[in-house]
Every structure is written in structure tokens, then in C-alpha cells.
């Protein structure tokens, strides 16, 4: 019985709105400031080559992070994306050495979808925390990747056909970037406009309430893991095609955490129920700009990681602050 506590109403509501605004614009403003500063301080920053280069390098991260946003919104977390990325890469490389590019690409993405499906089923059906499930899965999948490569670097320099997947230029922009743009748009639309997206917000916001409202929470969460796995698969195939080689250790746990950092810096809550794909895009690019800035301005790269950590803490701190209002 706390009638009045709940009725405390308007003041609290205004405070929340202010925080929401702060957080809503929060990532966009530092991003624009950083972009402007880099444009002014480095002549080579705001060039088409440099910017497209950043996008090309970030295409894999963007795709994985976009899908990872859905996992977080629905109340889960996927730490297996790094391993899945490598696994899909080596699977596609393995088959590219033997068959045509098309089946190799599809098999690579399919491998990612399968890992995602396994993640989804294990976390929902057996009610195991997704942090543990996907951590365990990343070991299993890494092992599988090593089985495929037998510890070798798979090279595809003699398979230029496979390289066309990510390296074809269309309207002077590489297909890796086009693929990333398309994936991000589709995933963002899925979250923002479809019933499935609505259910993801509900499942992450209050799983029991969602269930009682008739939402199939397990199915929705499984879908997010499948999408995350598929995205990691696509990203792995794209990078294999970009560099025409693959190895089992390519995207270890570091990738999973880079992706997570991008999502969280963007402002999606790790507690679920809130977030958006466009935020994640800005978050990932913000982190990429920091790295790019360190290189272009010739700063001591030792400080880059410290900067990253501080920014991550600031992002999470802001999230905690906005929740305290409730």
C-alpha cells in the first residue's frame, strides 16, 4: 500500500523526462563534438577515403552490435558473438576453398544462425542465465572453429570470387558497407516497427508481465539470439571476404566486448527493456572515431584504452542515474 508514493507523480515524471532526454541526445552530442574536433584538428579525417575506411572496418561490428541490441532489449546478453564470428568465417573459408562462393557464404551465415538457435534454446528452455550460456557457447564454438582449421590460417588469395562478396564497389562504396547498412536498417526496423520488436521491449522490461499479457517470452528471446548468431555469422563471412583469410582465433572475446561497449555507450540498457538500434550505430561509430582520432593525431595509443574505459563507465553511470529516478 503506497498510494502516495505512486502518486508522487508529476515531479518524478518530469525528472525522468529530463534524464531520458539527457540520455537520448547524450550519445549523439559527444559524437558530433568529437566529429567536429577531429575535422578541425586533422586534415585527413573528414575525407571520403578515411570515413569509408572507418565504415569498412566497422561493418562487422555494426552488424553484430545491431542484432546484439535486440538481445539486450529483450533482457539477455550474447557473449558468444566473437567466437561465432570466427566460426562462421572459417566455415565459409573452408567451403570457399572447395566450392563456389555462394554456398560458402550461406553455410557461414547458417553456422551463425545455428549457434544462435542453440543459445536461445538453452537459455529459455533450460532457464540458464544467458551470460553463462553464451560464455560457455563461446568456448564450444571456438573449439569447433579450431577443429575446422586444424589450427591453420585458411587463405583464399587464389579465390578472388569469394572476395567479391565484400569488396565489390557499388556507387564508389564497398559492398561490405552496403551490407552493413542494409543489415542495420532491417534490424532497426524489426525492433522499431514490428510486433516482434514490441514483444522484445516487453520481454526485457518485465518478463512476467509480458508473459501474463500473452507474449511468448521464450520464443521472443530465442528469436533475438538467432538474429544475433546470424548477424555474427554474416559479419564473419564479410570480414573473411574482406581480408581473404580466416582463422579460428580471429574474433575472440575482445570482439564480444567491443560490441557490448558500442551498444552500452549508445545508451541501450544492459538491464533490458530499453534501447534502439540507431543508438548502437552511433555508439559503435563513436568508439571507432576515438580509435581513428588517436591514429590521425598521433597520440600515444596507450591512452586509447583508458579513454575507452572511462567513456564506458560514463555511459553506464548515466544509465544508472536515469533509473534512479524511478
Amino acid at each position: 500500500m503506497n498510494v502516495h508514493a505512486e502518486d508522487a507523480g508529476f515531479e518524478g515524471w518530469r525528472r525522468q523526462v529530463t534524464y531520458a532526454r539527457l540520455r537520448g541526445a547524450g550519445i549523439l552530442i559527444p559524437f558530433l563534438i568529437l566529429f567536429t574536433v577531429l575535422s578541425l584538428t586533422s586534415s585527413s579525417f573528414a575525407t571520403k577515403t578515411n570515413l569509408l575506411n572507418i565504415l569498412d572496418q566497422q561493418s562487422a561490428t555494426l552488424i553484430i552490435a545491431a542484432a546484439g541490441t535486440l538481445v539486450l532489449v529483450a533482457g539477455g546478453i550474447d557473449l558468444s558473438v566473437g567466437a561465432t564470428y570466427s566460426f562462421a568465417g572459417v566455415v565459409s573459408a573452408h567451403f570457399a576453398q572447395r566450392t563456389n562462393p555462394v554456398p560458402a557464404i550461406l553455410l557461414g551465415i547458417g553456422a551463425g544462425l545455428l549457434v544462435g538457435l542453440a543459445n536461445g534454446i538453452v537459455t529459455t528452455r533450460f532457464r540458464i542465465n544467458s551470460l553463462i550460456t553464451t560464455l560457455a557457447m563461446s568456448f564450444i564454438v571456438s573449439g569447433c572453429a579450431s577443429l575446422v582449421t586444424k589450427g591453420n590460417l585458411l587463405v583464399l588469395f587464389d579465390k578472388p570470387g569469394f572476395g567479391k562478396f565484400a569488396r565489390t564497389e557499388f556507387l564508389t562504396v564497398k559492398t561490405s558497407i552496403w551490407l552493413a547498412v542494409a543489415a542495420v536498417l532491417v534490424i532497426g526496423w524489426l525492433l522499431a516497427a514490428t510486433t516482434a520488436g514490441r514483444y522484445m521491449y516487453a520481454a526485457g522490461g518485465n518478463a512476467e508481465a509480458a508473459r501474463l499479457a500473452g507474449v511468448r517470452v521464450h520464443a521472443v528471446r530465442t528469436l533475438t539470439f538467432v538474429l544475433s548468431g546470424g548477424a555474427a555469422g554474416l559479419a564473419g563471412v564479410i570480414d573473411t571476404s574482406r581480408v581473404l583469410s580466416a582463422q579460428a582465433e580471429a574474433g575472440d572475446t575482445a570482439l564480444a566486448f567491443t560490441v557490448l561497449a558500442g551498444i552500452v555507450v549508445g545508451g541501450t540498457s544492459i538491464l533490458g527493456g530499453e534501447g534502439a538500434v540507431w543508438r548502437t550505430v552511433v555508439g559503435v561509430l563513436f568508439i571507432a572515431l576515438i580509435g581513428n582520432g588517436y591514429i590521425l593525431l598521433g597520440l600515444d595509443p596507450l591512452y586509447e584504452q583508458i579513454t575507452m574505459g572511462v567513456i564506458l563507465l560514463a555511459a553506464v553511470g548515466l544509465d544508472a542515474l536515469s533509473r534512479r529516478g524511478t
Binding site: M1, N2, V3, H4, A5, E6, D7, A8, G9, G12, W13, Q16, A193, T194, T195, A196, R198, Y199, Y201, A202, G205, N206, E208, A209, A210, R211, L212, A213, G214, V215, R216, G273, E274, T326
Partner: protein
């Protein structure tokens, strides 16, 4: 049977515990208001009252689990203000909760001496621990194997562990909050025996209980609380179940309810329950007709919510049948139930009802999104229009419909839940505590919605801890006690006294 209040053995008539003007409020709700009472040393002092009357709050203040806002607690002549249960324990005041606290992996003896194990340096003296345990059980007058792991004990035995723990710390005042609510008849008898022997040995017991018969049997003195105030304190010998019920209620039935529409005699049966067994529900059977409002009364924990959840498919059903209308089996999940025309408004809107971070519109349409989308894409315009319609019909006020639902007051949040249900009208609606934590104005609005729905031919089940509400809305009332339906009341028989008599028996 009530004994004559014993004279304090030592302290020349001075009460062992005295409360003077104790007050406590939660937010704006005054849970306790100017409560004064005196507890005689070596007696059982019972606290009774309706749900929310403030009994448990009072018990928790005495035991140091809560701090009061005002007033004084005097223990054995000394004013005290415990800041924690630990501090209370150091002064000889222990609490035994309805759900006992034990560490399941440790043995019974280890649990009893948890935190004050006999030891030398950092080495546990196991043999001395068991010796002390044996001495303790002998003094308490009951047996419990020392080496059994506590996780394997039943609730009643775990309570014994708590009692032993209290005794091991030399507790002279024990607060028992609904100690028998989770016990079987035989276990209840055992506990009563223990309480009697404790009191005979000079311990003072404050007993909080819903079970009036138990109170009259055990207590020397009874204090009746209502709305956070003391109605009266009297010797148990001077009370009867009827006099206690009257004191607990103490208010006339007010006509804050819309007029009931008569149920047509040939109205079809839309919900038929036979021998339903589920966690917390035993052998429930009843029928419900279209247009009928069925009230389910009972104490907190009597199985009302469990029954609702089982009917709705939110909890597993262990046996029996539930049939909706002509030959339609009930759903086994909330989704199926909704599709078959059975909806539920859950007990706690915060935990089980609303997605607080999302808008009123999204919360309203959540159960029916498929009807408002094409090929999996939400048709925003249609959605907004449909949601607005029902939200206005349910008179939701206070913030824009696009604002997060947490911005709304409790009453308006509850109305959003009704709006969700009404977006696609079900045939059966179960409303669990539909007006909990809702102000008076919103209450009447919710009553109007419920009665209006019944008039349109919906079958409505209303579960409520507020008796007035159940009686004011329902055509018929079922009373539940310990998981069973123990009474069915209609017409003239629907009185607060009859319901309470069945609920407390």
C-alpha cells in the same frame, strides 16, 4: 482455553513491554497511528485485525525490523529504539516469521547456533555445539535431530529451529507473525504446545494471527487493530470470535458500489471448474454464468491468487478440469487463455501487470498486437486509435497516452490494465485485487467498469482482500481457506460476518 492473566512474577505489576503512541507511515499511508499497549510478562498477547490493519508492522517495530516514526517502546522499564533485528536480539527480543529462515546446507544444530557457534579461536567446537544443542532442546521440551540438514525439514520443523535459535540467545520476548499459517492441523497443535511451555517458563509471546480460534485458545490478552489504530485491548476470556470480528470491522457497509444487475436465470455457463488442483489450490469446483460477478474472499495466502493463476494458465494445473463455455477447454498458457476469451488482471500491476518503461498505448495493445498489425508490422495509426478509445473509456487520466506508464498514478495504472483487457472483450475476466493501492475516486471508476462489463454479459471473478468490495460487487461469494473453497454465500447469507467466520474458522 484462556487462563486468568498471570500476575507478573518479578517486576511488581510493571508490564514487560510497553508501547506508547507508536506511529509509522509508508509514503502517505498511516500504517500505525498512536498505538499504545502493554504486554504482561510471561503472557501471550495476541494482535488481530484485517489485512493491512497494522499488526505485522507493529510486530516488526517491536522486533527491530522496522523503525517507528513516533512514540516510545519501553522494554522491561527501559525505553529502547532498536535499529536492527540483531540489536533487538541483544536485548532479548526475537522474531519468528511465517517463512522461517534457515540455511538449508547446514545442520539443525549449526542453524540454531548460527553466528555464535562455540569455538576456540577460529576452530569450531563441534562436540560442544551438540552438547549445548541437547541442553537447549531439553529445556524447550521438544526434539529435533541435531545433525539433520535443515533444508530437509518441513516448514513446521524449520520454525522450531527458529524458536530454538531465539531461545539459544536467551530471548525473553518472542514475536510470532502468523506462525501457523503454513502448518497442518497437527503441526499447529504442536506449536501451540511449545508456546504454552515457553510461557510457563516465563517467556513473553506476542502472537500475530489471522486464526481467531487459535488466538482465543492461546492468548491471555488480545489487542484488536483497525486501520493502524488500537480498537481495544481486553482479556481473551472476555472476547468471542464474533466480538473480535465486529471490532475488526467496526464500520457500516457503505454504498459506494454501483447497483448490481440481476443475472438472467438461463444465462449460459461460461466457466466450469471441477476438482481443480494446482500449487496452493486443493479441489476447487464452481460454475460461473455469463453476466455474473463472482467474488472470491479469503485471507492473504488462502489460495485465491493461486486459483486465479491456475485458471488463467499462468501456473501449472495438477488435476481436475476447467472448461470455458460449450466444450472449449481452458488454455494452458496466458496466450491460449486470452485467445479463448479468458483474461486476467493480475494482483500486482507493478510486478505482473505493466511494462513500466513503455507507454500507456503500448501497454494497452500488448495482448492484442496481432489484431493491430499486418504481416508482423504494427499499424501505428490503427493501434493508437484503438488504444485511445479504450483508454478514454476506462477514464485514464494524468499523462499523455504516449508517456511511460510509470508516470501515472496507481489508480490510472490499474485502469490501463482494464483498458488492455477491454481492447478485445473477453467472455470471462478475472480481476485479482483490482483496487489495491488505488484512491477512492479511481475505485469507484473501476467498480463501474466491472459492473458495466457484467451487465454486457461478461462473467467476472473479483478477488479482493477488502470484504466490502467483494460483497458490494458480487452476486455470489466463495470463501477460500488454506487452498480450499470452504463456503459459498449468496443473497441474504452474504454478510461480512459470515465471510469472516468462514475465512478465519
Amino acid at each position: 482455553m484462556a487462563r486468568v492473566a498471570p500476575l507478573p512474577a518479578t517486576a511488581e505489576g510493571r508490564p514487560y513491554l510497553e508501547l506508547l503512541g507508536v506511529a509509522k507511515h509508508f509514503g502517505g499511508v498511516q500504517a500505525l497511528d498512536d498505538v499504545s499497549l502493554a504486554v504482561v510478562r510471561g503472557s501471550v498477547h495476541a494482535l488481530v485485525g484485517e489485512n493491512g490493519a497494522g499488526k505485522s508492522t507493529l510486530g516488526r517495530i517491536v522486533a527491530g525490523a522496522l523503525a517507528g516514526d513516533g512514540g516510545t517502546v519501553v522494554l522491561d522499564g527501559e525505553p529502547v529504539a532498536f535499529r536492527s533485528p540483531r540489536e533487538a536480539l541483544e536485548h532479548g527480543v526475537a522474531a519468528i516469521a511465517q517463512e522461517p529462515f534457515v540455511v538449508p546446507q547446514l545442520t539443525v544444530a549449526e542453524n540454531v547456533f548460527l553466528g555464535r557457534e562455540p569455538r576456540s579461536g577460529i576452530v569450531l567446537r563441534r562436540r560442544r555445539l551438540e552438547r549445548e544443542y541437547a541442553r537447549l532442546t531439553a529445556a524447550a521440551g521438544f526434539e529435533l535431530p541435531a545433525r539433520l540438514s535443515a533444508g530437509r525439514l518441513r516448514t513446521a520443523e524449520q520454525q522450531k529451529v527458529e524458536i530454538l535459535r531465539a531461545l539459544s540467545r536467551d530471548a525473553r520476548l518472542i514475536v510470532m507473525d502468523e506462525p501457523t499459517a503454513a502448518l497442518s492441523g497437527q503441526e499447529t497443535e504442536q506449536l501451540h504446545g511449545i508456546v504454552r511451555s515457553l510461557v510457563a517458563a516465563g517467556t513473553t509471546v506476542i502472537l500475530i494471527s489471522h486464526f481467531l480460534r487459535e488466538v482465543l485458545e492461546l492468548a491471555d490478552t488480545v489487542t484488536v487493530l483497525r486501520d493502524g489504530r488500537v480498537v481495544r485491548t481486553a482479556p481473551a476470556a472476555a472476547e468471542t470470535e464474533a466480538s473480535l470480528v465486529e471490532a475488526m470491522l467496526g464500520r457500516p457497509l457503505t454504498s459506494t458500489f454501483p447497483a448490481k444487475q440481476p443475472v438472467e436465470a438461463d444465462a449460459p455457463i461460461v466457466l466450469s471448474v471441477r476438482g481443480l488442483r494446482a500449487p496452493g489450490v486443493e479441489d476447487a469446483s464452481f460454475d460461473l454464468r455469463a453476466g455474473e460477478v463472482l467474488g472470491i474472499a479469503g485471507l492473504v495466502g488462502a489460495g485465491r491468487t493461486e486459483l486465479a493463476r491456475a485458471l488463467y494458465g499462468a501456473a501449472p494445473v495438477e488435476g481436475g478440469t476447467v472448461v470455458l463455455g460449450a466444450g472449449v477447454a481452458a488454455g494452458r498458457s496466458p496466450r491460449e487463455s486470452l485467445d479463448r476469451g479468458l483474461a486476467m488482471i493480475p494482483e500486482s500491476r507493478k510486478d505482473h501487470g505493466l511494462i513500466f518503461g513503455r507507454s500507456s498505448i503500448e501497454n494497452t495493445t500488448l495482448s492484442h498486437l496481432r489484431a493491430l498489425s499486418s504481416l508482423g508490422v504494427v499499424r501505428r495509426g490503427t493501434e493508437r486509435k484503438a488504444a485511445r478509445g479504450v483508454l478514454q473509456r476506462c477514464d485514464v487520466r494524468g499523462a499523455q497516452f504516449a508517456a511511460p506508464v510509470r508516470a501515472l498514478s496507481g489508480g490510472n495504472q490499474q485502469k490501463v490494465l482494464f483498458a488492455r483487457t477491454l481492447l478485445r472483450t473477453p467472455r470471462v475476466l478475472i480481476a485479482d485485487e483490482p483496487t489495491r493501492g488505488v484512491d477512492v475516486g479511481a475505485k469507484r471508476a473501476i467498480y463501474d467498469i466491472l459492473v458495466g462489463l457484467a451487465a454486457e454479459g461478461l462473467a467476472v471473478v473479483v478477488i479482493s482482500s477488502e470484504l466490502e468490495e467483494v460483497l458490494g460487487l458480487s452476486h455470489r461469494v466463495l470463501v477460500m481457506r488454506r487452498g480450499r473453497i470452504v463456503a459459498e454465500l449468496t443473497g441474504e447469507a452474504m454478510t461480512e460476518g459470515r465471510v469472516l467466520a468462514a475465512a478465519f474458522a
